[in-house]
Symmetry: none
Subunit: 223 residues, 4 copies
DNA sequence: GATGAATGAGTGTTCATTCAT
DNA sequence: GATGAATGAACACTCATTCAT
């Protein structure tokens, strides 16, 4: 997760034509923010356009000035969340000086984002039937970041010889379920809006570090 | 995943009153099978009761003879899938003689089940908004199996000292996303109904094994 | 209401073929009693055949052995109630020695029946759209009793010269709404299962007696 | 019935938020008119929203723009009819110069309204199970008018000493059943849309007048 | 005589979307 | 640019009735 590389062609996102006027841009942004919130709390199917426009403080008809329909809005929300989570992770790890530090920073950022945007995974998981393309694009784009990170780390001998694609999906899965269990569920239970508890974070880091670290013998040999 | 322990109280499932007559039991089973299939292909919201009863070959009204409503049907389907996947994993790993063998057998069974029942995760992931209880019960019951497996393995010194709960959620997540990526997506792409490709399976096993294995020094010490 | 005359051709009721066996007759009676109760508490439309058969302690299918359908059952219930209320009123007033006594006894019996069978008017009033024939037959048969009573009382000079038909409908209406207000509503409010309170009864009797009594001058003239 | 007093707080009716636009108000009014007609001819349960919207000439969904549901529509219809019948009676009797004249005018207006709005009582009588509150509010509000009329008439010595509440319910009942018998039933038989025939009206008036008039002795005393 | 599994027509209600203003 | 009245397809669910046992 430290390995996210933002300097690559964006995964295809919805084509967006931004409204020409300032007022229009504000309206569009309000709608998107409202949508994220409503999708997150109600789910795609119970998120009616009326709810969203009410939350956004605009008229019902206004919605269709800015979005062709509900699904396109959904795709846009997923796409935006995806861009932002990748950016958060990338920024967090860019300041790191060691590989380990970068890894920790990336995961921390991921959990923090999950905490701040409960929408992320509740929305993405629903996407299976709403917009499979959006769902795949989301997972693929993040995993791609891991992969390229692992590849370059392997080139430097900092990560052992393991299929980087498989390892990346495994990392993604571990992060997702840990986030679901300790961020989402705890939040819904009424509580702490910060990321995962420290001992969980440390255990996960230990799990990952051990799984990826060059073996002692190899290390010794490479010395 | 090898550690699934079926000899524990079932997580609470929907109370089921089986129909008294053979005919009734057949009808109920048909409805459940149809529901699994329709939920898996259409998703909860697009799975109309009409679709399900048509697929089951019964009249619309018949559905309500056996289930109080759509949500209860969903819960039952999730519960059944959960029971079956845990049983499959448990059975597979019970024949193993070494810990490693058991682990491999458990994961193989999991991917095989995923391949045979694409319903499993497409259904469970939707459950977030349809039936959060069912979703949590599903994940929790499987993770509980892992945890108790890890605990007993740690007692024998076969697994290193790592928080078994965190490790279990990480394993669960890795398995789920690998299954999604290489079983579900590949299947939807038109293809192979078997589990994950061999090289993926081996890479994943290597990932897990390394993450859990007792460290060399500890091993030496324990000698 | 004292004037009910039971010795006249019954208003047409549903043709009834009683079941040949004792057991069958008991089942049929159970169904009728259950129907009266369920119709009274739930109303015609919410009174499902299932509810009725359950209350009667018989199987669903059994219902259709004894009745062609729900509407016919309803008609039978109305018809039975009608026969019984007329009988109760007739019996009560038959023991009276003066006209006034008979009138009081008849009304008392009517209110007592209403109290014991809340079904009567809640059912009859619904009949407007369920079975207009049954509704009309009910009102007409009771009013006919009044009319003939008034006619013979007029012949004896005990009741003044007023159109007996109009007067009968007016009496019927007064009795019905008083019963609704002081028997039904009070019962639903949680309370007293006896008939109307004494002061209400006396006020009503005074109202009726004054309306019907021969005028003083006429009386004097006739002396 | 002459005593209806419209200058009193309305019985609580459904809160109504009138549509802001002219078009909306027209649509709402169309729906109410259609509902009155369909409820009157089909009864509450057979009056489907589709029937009503078709009669109103609007789309099905439009109904739910103006009413939360079928029951609320029903309540509104009952409330409107109630308001209108009380107003009609009140207006009719307000022009009268003597008590008797007022009484006759009030009843005439009542029967005329019944003739013009067959909906009134067929609808109200069903309300027993559909909306007991609405039913009670209807009867109570009319009876309250009678009561206060009787009270002031008694104060002037124009009506004898009889419990005004009981007398009012008796009057209400007499009027209702006479209206049912001679307006509704005759209409359904195919006929005359005017109120009750003259001889019936006169007989009823005589009935009521005699029941309420101060006794001769009292009169003499008061001279 | 008695049963209850099976049925499908019919209902109230929701909501994404359109379009005239 | 912004609005909200109007729409109808679609859906979950009910229940009187049938009929094989």
């Amino acid at each position: 997760m430290n390995h996210v590389d933002i300097n690559r062609p964006e995964p295809l996102g919805p084509e967006v034509i931004l409204p020409p006027t300032k007022r229009g841009q504000r309206t569009r942004a309000n709608l998107l923010a409202a949508a994220e919130s409503v999708f997150a709390t109600s789910g795609y199917h119970d998120a009616s356009i009326v709810k969203i426009t009410e939350e956004a403080g605009v008229g019902l008809g206004t919605f269709y000035v800015y979005f062709p329909g509900k699904k396109e809005l959904f795709d846009q929300v997923v796409f935006d969340l995806n861009r932002r989570v990748r950016q958060a992770m990338s920024e967090a790890s860019s300041g790191a000086t060691t590989r380990l530090e970068a890894e920790r920073a990336g995961f921390r950022a991921f959990f923090a984002f999950t905490a701040a945007h409960p929408a992320l995974y509740s929305i993405v998981r629903q996407a299976e039937f709403v917009s499979p393309e959006a769902m795949r694009a989301h997972y693929t784009s993040i995993v791609d970041g891991y992969i390229s990170g692992l590849l370059s780390a392997q080139a430097k001998g900092e990560v052992r010889d393991i299929d980087p694609t498989v390892a990346s999906w495994a990392l993604m899965g571990a992060g997702e379920l840990i986030g679901m269990r300790w961020v989402q569920w705890e939040q819904q239970a009424g509580g702490r809006p910060e990321g995962v508890p420290d001992h969980v974070f440390e255990a996960l880091m230990s799990f990952i570090e051990t799984a990826l670290a060059p073996s002692a013998s190899v290390k010794e040999e490479s010395v």
